[in-house]
């Protein structure tokens, strides 16, 4: 008994690092154990995230051959080239427009649905399941379904429009409508996840706040403005950031619905990178664009963290 309790005591001392006279080997025991557990993660992050990110930066300063080997240092010329290229500029404009179309509408629709589904009604579980269903939909499956719905001859969307007296819309054929079509598909896909997260946020709000307001006779709209939305703001900010980032990363819907066309109207940034790198083998300019994508996402995440820290104070 005594020997085992001694080791337990020793363990404790090591853990809290109170004993002064430990050897270096003893003092770093915790560090070494921790590293053993962390090693797989750190190794994988290094190989598949940190190293490639650095290499993207490196490649963006070079011209490369078709195998992706850097052959000629060109400094900032890749950046100068893409910033002047009308294709890239158009791609940036489309991407920003796309973000503008998708982010506010995704969040507002999901918020509306979550408010509905947060009511304590009979059978609400069924509705929650249905409303979160698009979260299980893959981008490929969603895009193929919407491709069919948008189809000029067999698509049913135009049939509906005709029934209510609106003439057919050239969904994927017209440059402006094509971007909107892709945005509709994306908003539909986003809704499930955003709904689930916002619903979770709503359910975390302290019910006592409502009970007190109820006693005071506060109206629903007043409660919504004074209790629900302020208490929900961290969740909302989180989901806005995530939706923003997801929008910037959209690829599958473009690949299946339009391949970047018509007239490059839907050549969103990740699709442009894909095309430059894997179809035209321009790894240098593709890397420069990838770096711009990185900077956008990086900035947004920093914002999220800043806000996320503040949130602690008013809870």
């Amino acid at each position: 008994m005594s020997s085992s309790s001694v080791t337990v005591v020793e363990e404790r001392i090591l853990q809290y690092g109170r004993k002064e006279k430990l050897s270096w080997w003893g003092k770093t025991k915790n560090f070494r154990t921790a590293m053993l557990y962390l090693f797989p993660s750190i190794l994988l992050f290094s190989i598949f995230l940190f190293y490639p990110m650095l290499r993207t930066v490196y490649l963006s300063f070079f011209l490369t051959d078709a195998q992706g080997v850097a052959s000629l240092f060109v400094g900032f010329e890749n950046f100068a080239y893409i910033l002047q290229s009308s294709v890239f500029r158009k791609s940036m404009v489309s991407t920003l427009l796309f973000v503008l179309y998708t982010v506010p509408s995704s969040v507002i629709i999901a918020l509306f649905l979550a408010l509905l589904a947060n009511e304590k009604l009979r059978g609400i579980g069924f509705f929650r399941t249905i409303l979160s269903s698009t979260m299980g939909m893959s981008v490929a499956a969603s895009a193929v379904i919407w491709l069919f719905l948008f189809h000029p001859t067999v698509g049913i969307l135009n049939s509906f429009l005709n029934i209510i007296g609106i003439s057919s819309i050239p969904w994927l054929l017209d440059p402006q409508w094509a971007l909107i079509s892709i945005a509709i598909t994306t908003v539909w896909m986003n809704t499930g996840f955003a709904f689930l997260v916002i619903l979770g946020g709503l359910q975390n709000i302290d019910q006592h706040l409502y009970e007190n307001a109820e006693i005071d006779g506060a109206k629903y709209r007043y409660q919504l403005r004074r209790i629900t939305l302020p208490m929900l703001s961290p969740t909302l900010f989180f989901i806005i950031t995530i939706t923003f980032i997801n929008s910037f990363q959209s690829f599958g819907q473009v690949d299946i619905l339009t391949q970047g066309g018509p007239a490059e109207a839907t050549n969103l940034i990740v699709y442009a990178i894909y095309r430059d790198a894997f179809i035209n083998y321009q790894f240098g300019t593709a890397s420069a664009q990838a770096l711009i994508l990185f900077i956008l996402v990086f900035g947004l995440t920093i914002l999220q963290f800043k806000f996320g820290e503040k949130r602690v104070h008013y809870q």
């Binding site: 750190i42 598949f48 009511e119 399941t129 939909m137 969603s142 719905l149 969740t235």
Partner: protein, 270 residues
């Protein structure tokens, strides 16, 4: 207190559910339609028949793709659980020097969009000889900051008494990890498992890059292929393919919805 609002909420819920779920329902209906039904823009199939489901397996090697997707998704799920649980254990229970620095390192991975690293990753996979291999679609996704944080959050709720008991029993750190901590935190392991399977099953861009033949292709790329092969001829077959591909994830989502919602709000916000 909210019952009185039922008469406003129910109609709104029903309408929104119908609108949102319509594309999936319609895809299901079309998957039973004949070519003429589709051309007539019918809403319901005139005769319900399974022939589209038989034909889709003849058009593309869908069985093979399903198996590939299943192997890859299960692989990522298991790998993620192991790698994330290890890291989470270190963060939750081992007070080591430099923990904040390593934690920051993990957080920084959240700021790198995966697409920004995909070009060098593609070159790495080529150099490893991992093209058209399950390895390229699983190993790079094992480490996940979100998963680590999710598990760590739950690990920290393991009662002190339990950890002390394990200590007194003389369990080693590793034994404590898999005999005490993991069983106690089953639920978040399930949550992360569902999340990992779902996201991997639905992955599109990466499998598109690293598979060049039917041998290792996943169902999502199969759908793209099906759509390009079949588009002019038969939408019923394409939709049959879509339904087959979405059934596993929809089932998983319906079963695990509550867990997933709890896990997402906890893990995502902390």
């Amino acid at each position: 207190m909210m019952k009185s609002r039922g008469w406003v909420v129910y109609p709104l819920l029903i309408i929104s559910s119908l609108l949102l779920f319509f594309p999936i329902v319609y895809a299901f209906l079309v998957s039973f339609m004949s070519g003429t039904d589709v051309m007539n823009r019918s809403f319901l199939p005139s005769i319900w028949n399974w022939s589209n489901y038989e034909r889709v397996f003849e058009t593309v090697p869908l069985m093979r793709y399903l198996m590939n997707s299943f192997i890859v998704s299960t692989g990522v799920m298991l790998g993620q659980l192991v790698v994330c649980a290890f890291a989470a254990y270190a963060f939750a229970f081992i007070p080591f020097k430099g923990r904040n620095a390593v934690f920051l390192l993990f957080i920084s991975t959240l700021m790198i969009p995966w697409e920004a690293a995909m070009i060098p990753n593609f070159l790495t996979i080529q150099a490893f000889g991992w093209m058209n291999s399950y390895l390229s679609m699983t190993v790079p996704f094992f480490a996940l900051a979100f998963g680590t944080f999710l598990l760590r959050q739950h690990f920290k709720t393991v009662p002190h008494e339990l950890m002390e008991a394990a200590d007194i029993e003389g369990l080693s750190k590793f034994a404590t990890f898999y005999k005490v901590v993991l069983p106690y935190c089953r639920t978040s392991l399930v949550t992360l498992g569902i999340y990992g399977f779902l996201t991997t099953w639905n992955m599109y861009l990466w499998p598109l890059l690293v598979t060049t033949n039917d041998e290792k292709r996943t169902v999502q790329i199969g759908l793209k292929q099906l759509q390009t092969v079949e588009v002019a001829t038969d939408w019923g077959v394409v939709m049959a393919g879509v339904i087959i591909v979405i059934i596993p994830t929809l089932l998983l989502l319906f079963i695990g919805q509550k867990q997933l919602q709890k896990g997402l709000t906890q893990g995502a916000l902390k």
